[in-house]
């Protein structure tokens, strides 16, 4: 047997320890056989080397031999071994994706328990998903998207609905409440439904015109929260949003003019 220096012995022991830890996940490999292959290889490689063999010389042999992980090829691993290995060794952005999906699952489970904690888990899931997105960079997310898209899509849909329709809903509710106030009812000359409708459409059209202007100046304010689904959103979309707002305003003006001229009286009776 080749005599190793103390440091070289430690290096070899560490290499074998790592190989053994991977062998635990193997379903078919013979631990003794693998260790025998390693020791036979090292023995033959170091034949003729000055003894005791230094750690530096041994490191060269181990480097050529390759990573301890490769002694257990994927096809010889249990499924759970592959999973653990993936979690342990994959790049950080994959781990973030798993964490994000885990938070989402816990959040969904907590929904059945009606616990306010679910909000914390959903928020955690979204934040880690965004971190994973940032870590992945501008390229294709690949299979990671199956872990990240559920929370990102949910939040994006909620964001779009709130951004575009939130003010309209708020205006409708406030208008319905205001119509109960005497001076509003006296001055508006409108029925409740017409008043609520007018207020809602008016606020929506003005808000969309404003959103269009914001999109022209700072498209990132809308694009960034919606990553990666609105990556192609740019300032050229602004006029279209403002245009829809303007169109709504024109339709509303026509409606109000017709209303004031009694065109809808037949329906009011």
């Amino acid at each position: 047997m080749v005599e190793l220096s103390e440091n070289a012995r430690k290096g070899l022991d560490d290499y074998l320890r790592q190989v053994r830890s991977y062998l635990r996940w193997s379903k078919s490999l013979d631990r003794e056989e693998v260790e025998q292959n390693i020791s036979e290889h090292i023995e033959r490689e170091l034949e003729g080397a000055p003894e005791p063999v230094s750690a530096c010389t041994l490191d060269g042999v181990l480097a050529r031999l390759g990573s301890p992980r490769q002694w257990v090829p994927p096809e010889a691993m249990h499924w759970w071994g592959k999973l653990i290995l993936k979690l342990r060794t994959d790049s950080e952005d994959w781990r973030l994706s798993y964490i994000s999906f885990g938070f989402l699952l816990v959040g969904v489970l907590l929904m059945f328990l009606v616990s306010p904690l679910q909000v914390v888990f959903f928020a955690g899931s979204f934040i880690t998903a965004r971190a994973a997105l940032a870590a992945a960079g501008p390229g294709d997310l690949g299979a990671q998207k199956w872990l990240l898209y559920p929370i990102l899509l949910t939040v994006s849909v909620a964001f779009v609905l709130t951004l575009f329709l939130g003010p309209a809903l708020l205006a409708g509710i406030i208008a319905a409440e205001l119509h109960e106030v005497d001076w509003v009812r006296r001055d508006s000359h409108m029925g409740v439904i017409a008043f609520v409708y007018t207020a809602t459409v008016l606020v929506t059209s003005l808000w969309w015109m404003l959103l269009g202007l914001i999109s022209c100046k700072r498209p990132g304010l809308i694009r960034e929260p919606l990553r990666p689904f609105a990556d192609r959103f740019n300032r050229r979309r602004g006029p279209a949003i403002s245009g829809v707002g303007l169109l709504l305003l024109a339709i509303l003006a026509g409606f109000v003019a017709l209303y004031m001229n009694g065109a809808f009286d037949i329906f009011m009776r």
């Binding site: 013979d30 025998q36 292959n37 036979e40 033959r44 050529r64 990573s67 257990v72 096809e75």
Partner: protein, 113 residues
């Protein structure tokens, strides 16, 4: 980008070729693991971690393409010798045949670049 493409492609090719190279290295003789590694090391384009050869040898043995005999060695630990089985020789012939056809076919497609 081109380098990455080439690296991916050549890695896949090497993976596919490794088993053929191992079986060819053994051929009609009997060799022990280290000698097989040493013979593969001579193929410059193969560029492998030497440790990848042993798991493949084990798998080929489990699949019945190789048989092993262990012999004591005066110089160190016992040596495990590998030899092709009948089934191994048969699959090697088929693999070489397939590789030959692929290479000839691919060469035939080559035009002026």
């Amino acid at each position: 980008m081109d380098d990455r493409f080439f690296d991916n492609w050549s890695t896949q090719l090497r993976k596919g070729m490794l088993e053929l190279c191992i079986l060819n290295a053994i051929g009609g003789t009997r060799l022990y693991g280290y000698d097989i590694v040493r013979r593969l090391r001579e193929i410059e384009a193969l560029v492998i971690s030497e440790g990848t050869v042993y798991p493949i040898l084990s798998r080929l043995r489990r699949e019945g393409f190789l048989q092993t005999t262990i012999e004591e060695s005066a110089a160190g630990p016992p040596r495990k010798y590998y030899r092709l089985t009948g089934k191994g020789a048969e699959i090697l012939t088929r693999m070489n045949d397939c590789w030959g056809k692929m290479k000839t076919g691919a060469d035939g497609l080559k035009g002026e670049v």
